[in-house]
Symmetry: D2
Subunit: 300 residues, 4 copies
């Protein structure tokens, strides 16, 4: 294929720009390929695993995740504990825009927490505390031992329609969160357990359901935004079936330190976490810029 220049006429329709992008070179090409691969996932009715990191739920991407769940574009979500924190908080409270470089001591004294250029007031966590106490009470009443996907569902049943957990609960899309204790919700679980000694979160409880999603699917696709435990858990569980048929990574990390977060899709092939025959691409860039471009054609 030949490189073609973008022209002014491409601009007004970036949402339909898959073709133009795929011919631009560098990461625009990779974004274009990502669009093509997601098209195939949909056409082949693959079971889609969406993963993202918690900072993305603090950003405007949260709206895209909610929309994707509402439209049942995904079959499972794997994410960090912080994603649950931010989703439930933002269903009731507002985050503010700040800057990447601020006086952090001053922020601290004013009760403001910074995530890149997004600001989270302390009161948000007061709200979360009350919310989770009720949620844990409800869960505990049913069973002393709960698990991350049950917690996510119980939260989603109480949040508003701007929340991705709301739509996951409504559409019965399981949300897996293998590292759930590492979050504000986890901290509340610690406080809760001090009162209810037999309260437990058994993380093995979710594994069978997650494994079945991988084992029972005729094809699977991964939309993997950022790195960390969520990324690895998605590819790890797909190892059980010999790997993803379709995989799209969006990452800002580099592979040269051997990190999983920076690993390209091809590294996954050596492990059998992505199939040798898979359609796969890694898009290098911040998801707030790259992902709207990639997902726009499916949400317009």
């Amino acid at each position: 294929m030949t490189i073609r220049d973008l022209t002014a006429k491409d601009m007004s329709g970036l949402a339909e720009a898959g073709d133009a992008l795929s011919r631009t070179g560098f990461q625009a090409t990779n974004a274009g390929r990502a669009i093509e691969i997601i098209k195939k996932m949909k056409k082949e009715q693959a079971t889609v695993f969406l993963t993202f990191t918690s900072n993305m739920v603090a950003s405007g991407l949260r709206g895209l995740f909610a929309e994707m769940c509402k439209r049942r574009m995904v079959d499972a979500i794997i994410t960090a504990g912080g994603s649950l924190d931010h989703d439930l908080i933002r269903s009731a409270k507002k985050y503010e825009l700040g800057d990447f470089v601020m006086d952090d001591a001053k922020l601290h004294r004013s009760g403001t927490n910074r995530i890149g250029n997004i600001l989270v007031p302390n009161e948000c966590y007061v709200y979360l505390e009350g919310f989770m106490k009720e949620t844990f009470d409800a869960l505990y009443a049913k069973d002393r031992t709960t698990c991350p996907s049950e917690i996510a569902r119980a939260i989603g049943e109480r949040t508003k329609p701007d929340s991705f957990l709301h739509w996951c609960a409504k559409r019965e899309i399981p949300v897996f969160c293998p590292g759930i204790t590492d979050s504000a919700i986890g901290l509340q679980a610690y406080f809760y357990k001090q009162r209810r000694r037999d309260f437990a979160i058994d993380v093995t409880k979710d594994m069978s359901r997650l494994a079945q999603l991988s084992l029972n699917a005729s094809k699977t696709g991964g939309i993997v935004l950022g790195g960390g435990i969520s990324k690895h858990h998605a590819i790890g569980v797909n190892l059980l079936r010999g790997g993803f048929e379709y995989a799209v990574y969006v990452t800002t990390s580099s592979p040269w330190d051997g990190s999983l977060s920076g690993a390209r899709t091809n590294e996954g092939i050596s492990w059998g976490k992505i199939k040798e025959s898979a359609n796969h691409v890694t898009v290098d860039g911040d998801a707030t810029l790259a992902f709207p471009l990639i997902i726009a054609p499916f949400l317009k």
Copy 2:
């Protein structure tokens, strides 16, 4: 300002998405700020310096640069020698899409040169050789000693309307290229000089014209894509006037190694290369993804 989620309705109009982007967080916010700052450059009729690296001219961004020149959105371009190479070649020849990981020894044996995921056949440089011989002959006939902006203009007079140099020649936008010998054109200059010993490229010849652009402007704005000599030359010459009033950087480099390529706009303030009172932003990301989003509102 409050973080607002992107929704499906934002998607079809990313070109008009400045407002939505500026409220998304992370780099989408910075892209949104870049749009606002370019709006101000235009409103205040600032003298605009556009800089980019040569790989971008190998990509589809070349079309945007040409369009910007055609519409006189810029008053000066500062770029690397390779940008002239790619612009003149692509006015006659085609580059192909490849992949970031290929068998480079095999490519070499097949006469194909790789720039990231863009492929440049050897024949392109044969074409450039003939083109430049004529161009140098024409320049030499006028004056034994030429300079980079004269070379760029002479090229632009011979290329087609898909070329940014074409429009720079037509619109009398000077193209500065302080490191011109580091390019295929530079190599041809070396061969040319072997026949014409008194052929010279005097790089000091361009400095007065460039300095006047900075000194005579009531306001200046920089749109700085990527790093290297082009970036530094733009901010360096604006030091003469106490700095840019408006500056937008788009970069994939990090500042932690003290490199100029990774330096944020704020570092430029310490030098007086950007004014303390300037509107400025650094967008982190590959320009093929970020720049179409930023410039779309002005080219639609």
Copy 3:
């Protein structure tokens, strides 16, 4: 302080090079600062939390971690599930050096898994399977419900002295692993649970012990290598005490995407995860290059 040039005489003693490094500029300065901060942690007998990602345990850094534990330089480790995988495997099996770019389909067909430029033969996981079956049997015999630190300890009791888990078991250093199911060990837990339905890993069980380490310390220090859940869990639990007094981050990630992995120490101050008055530094670089330089003075 004034920048001083490195000279040939500095070279033979990089282990004592803290002073020289701190005066070199850029990341060498930050490595020098890291050495100074770790000196203070030791002098003030701070409770030290060491965190690292699993790829580092696949690398030669594992030896440094083991040595640090042997010498009781750390009071708690927080790490990913994969760190336990690699530590127990490498106590019996060997990993090989490869390259960052290889034919991953070919690797897959030959039963070789790639982590950056490190190669892990499939047989390693066969070994892990047998090892973990016994380990889970032993744990299950004691209590139907276990937790990550108990699993880590049970592994350490069976590995050899080249293993960090061995020394953690011996020196009674707890190893926390909040996302343990995301690992080969986690996969074995899933298989184990299919036979023993009441086998459970309660991740809330570790939280009290971890919290006490933070709450009871007069001072705390963090040595945080890489990002992910391990990094956040360390700073998250130190929130309970108002933050770390000392913090050293080594990372290859950038903060511009708002990710926790790329967040600098100063972002932690806004949250109260690092004290306003803390001594802290972020070293940008691959830990296999940076960490030996930083820790050498303490292990020579």
Copy 4:
């Protein structure tokens, strides 16, 4: 080869650590490979091209460059104009350590310029102004038209033995600087030309000498620190001979944007800028951390 853990005993002798490093994995392995490749360059008496960016001359690496020149470890240097600025200034003036995040407006008002975490007082440039006026006078007296390598040599004849230009002048190592006008020296050239209209810097004048170095060598090696024009000029001129036999890159840039700065050695093979049969490696990391480790064995 098998991954071996670093142990405490490796630490005191990092200078001799080539073997250990090459077995550590990730970038330590690449640093180890770099040492091996430089050993071969020396053994095979290759013509060595050293390139670096100007920020490195503002750092303590300047001392290593001077030492390498003193010992004739290099046959040619290709660098940015700013490298000449910093080298001549630091031969008389001091730079101070700062921080990567400072109040840049305040720095500006105090006459302090920031390069990452290195601070350059304004008076340094007053000194450079006087120094260059004399240097240009001396050059102009000899010939109206000068070239970058002659300027570099004239500077080196006036600087002290802590300067790399001093040793280049003494050891007759040419210093090429294709983009020389983009620097403080370039700015002085502009001022100088306003008084002496026929003063010229002909950048084609250096090309023959540089080309001969490539064409006449039986083997060539590149030690390429950072990116930009210096990196490309070194590999570009080696195209004339079919490429480097040995190449070591140290970079913080990524290849995913198609930039030359981030391009790995293998991309150079497709161009014939590095030989298919070459020994080559790219080390990812900040040169102030990586380069002392790599060069230590040769300077101890």
